[in-house]
Amino acid sequence: MLRFNQVFRYLTLTACLRSLLALTLTFLVSAPTLAQQAKIKVGMMLPYTGTFAPLGVAIENGFRLGLEEQGGRLGGREVEIVKVDDESDPAKATDNINRLVTRDKVDVVLGTVHSGVAAAMVRVTRESGTLQIIPNAGLAPVSGPLCAPNIFRSSFSNWQSGYAMGVEMAARNKVKKVITIAWQYAAGEESVKGFKDGYTKGGGQIAKELWLPFPTVDFQALLTEIAAAKPDATYAFFAGAGAAKFLKDYDQAGLRKTIPLIGPGFLTDGILEATGGAAEGVETTLHYGDGIETPKNKAFRLAYAKTFKLQPDTYAVAGYDSAYLLGAGMKAVAGDISKRKELIAAMEHASIDSPRGKWTMSRAHNPIQDHYLRKVIGMENRVTSVAVRQLDDDPAMIAACKMGR
């Protein structure tokens, strides 16, 4: 018994001494540079489960690739990534963002895909002042009435791609009247507004607006209406599973060949496999697509495919650009995130050399970027031309943005 006690005491003592020694050593080594070298904390609030999970992963991958290309550091500081799965659930959004901001005390928040979740996040970061980069969610008010100096978007606004298609259609002499069909929720309404703004400004006429409650997919009755009205084209806003079903139904109703189908890029992105050819020839507009033959894009696609064994998509590009946007800000202040004004000014004036092409930040912190016209050919959304060069956001939203500093 005595011997056991002695051995035990010896072991505890050495263990204590050892850890004390280790602690002192670490302190001695790191103390002089501690203030400068503390890692910058990036909180990723993205969907890692559910329908949008692949999008969340693509954004994270893109960000990591962009970070790696900058030497794994932003403004000379190492980066620590904290992840939260937002499940694309607006009900849990406030708790999740509060965890990152209050408990984990992150310096920057990157998120998210779902517009409803993003709206809840913005409400918190506007209060806390935490720097936020939105890598997808296209809801209009974020770069409008809800804009704030610390909130940036590296993707798009829903209005933009709709407007680009409107301009493109107005320029085509054969297309005199168009029917729109969309889910009746914020993204659908913003996209249709964009299309209407672009199309009617160029002299086009909206024959009819058809709406479905989100996310229902019983299209048959509305397709019959479209066939009866015989417009020159149909502008549709759907995404994901709903888009796949719409494209199939449109094709099976025999409308694909008689009434051209057009829409924002989300109509055909990521679902072409599921449509089995029913989307062939459908034209869409977006800030990215297949076959952009710039050296930057080629290098990006190669590096991404090599690192992650996956093909990059528009979501990966937004994640990638987010890393560069943050990098531009951090570089200007040499890693000192407390120099907030300079950091934000540098991000505002950043010109991002992106795989999608060069883009800059608008006054309301939304990308001013080229929008491409794309056509579904096989399993690709092939870029055929540029629909609108360096397109800014909805003027109404820009006017509504009062950047209180």
Binding site: L222, K248, A274
Partner: protein, 299 residues
């Protein structure tokens, strides 16, 4: 709306209604005979669709997939009744809803593990892949018509099974008085197991035949489930005939609610409020007949 368009919309509503009936009949059957509210019914619809997708990919043949899928879903029904559902007989409604709700989560997770979260598509089987030309620019897929025919055939078969056969007689008796039927030497436990398996198979079959015109995606059963409950409530809980009539009513109201324009005193009612139309219909019918159209009063 001109007359041909009206006829086509009528066809749309009937087509939608019949598929709805196929799913809802299983739900109402299980409730009417076993007294179980099965919230997981929509999941069977989703499982059916995913089975159609994976089995078609595996066998390369849609009809083979349909056959194997039906057998698998009957087996699933048997297993579920034996594992879970049989503990629910005679229990409070809350237990039934909680447990079957739990099943939804289990099925979604299993689906995610087995088949992933991607959107999938199933090709229309070759023989039915053509379209009928209805107007100068509108075609109607033959497959959609085939679905309606199949649904009608299944409805007739179900009517025959329950009203005209000995098994049907036992099922009806078992729902009226379980103890009495048991004391007559009929194995009620087995009977119930068969009814539940039938319910599962009906929903899964609906999912399988709907897979080519719909697409296959996570959570596809949830929307269907809600509409099915509306059908069952309007038709009267447990009544197959009621489910058929209610499906047709909902098909009509839903379809025409979307395409008609109605404006009263300058306020747009349709199609702006079309998403509410079927629930308004339900409310009106319940005010008039609280037990539903063909429901047994005092249930």
């Amino acid at each position: 709306m001109d007359f041909p368009t009206f006829l086509i919309q009528l066809l749309n509503s009937v087509q939608y209604a019949l598929l709805l009936f196929l799913i809802a009949s299983g739900l109402t059957l299980v409730f009417g005979i076993m007294g179980i509210i099965n919230v997981a019914h929509g999941s069977f619809y989703m499982i059916g669709a995913y089975l159609a997708w994976s089995l078609t990919a595996l066998t390369g043949h849609f009809w083979t997939a349909l056959l194997i899928g039906t057998v698998l879903s009957v087996l699933l029904g048997f297993a579920l009744e034996w594992l879970v559902i049989r503990y629910l007989y005679g229990r409070d409604l809350l237990y039934q809803v909680l447990l079957t709700y739990g099943l939804i989560l289990v099925f979604e997770e299993v689906r995610s593990l087995l088949w992933g979260d991607d959107v999938r598509g199933v090709d229309i089987p070759g023989a039915l892949a053509s379209s009928l030309r209805l107007t100068d620019n509108l075609s109607y897929p033959v497959y959609r018509l085939a679905i309606s025919v199949l649904c009608l055939a299944l409805a007739a078969a179900m009517y025959w099974l329950i009203q005209k056969t000995r098994v049907g007689m036992m099922i009806r008796a078992g729902s009226a008085n379980r103890q009495m039927v048991q004391s007559l030497g009929i194995n009620v436990a087995l009977l119930y197991r068969c009814v539940f398996a039938l319910g599962v198979a009906l929903a899964a079959l609906a999912g399988m035949i709907a897979a080519p015109v719909s697409s296959v995606f996570p959570g596809m059963g949830n929307h269907v489930l809600i509409v099915c409950f509306v059908v069952v409530v309007i038709g009267g809980m447990g009544s197959i005939k009621g489910a058929l009539i209610a499906s047709l009513l909902i098909g009509l109201v839903d379809t025409f609610g979307k395409v008609l324009h109605l404006e009263i005193a300058g306020i747009h009612l349709l199609p702006e409020l079309s998403s509410m139309s079927i629930y308004l219909l339900m409310a009106v019918i319940l005010l008039w007949r609280p037990e539903g159209l063909f429901g047994a009063p005092g249930r």
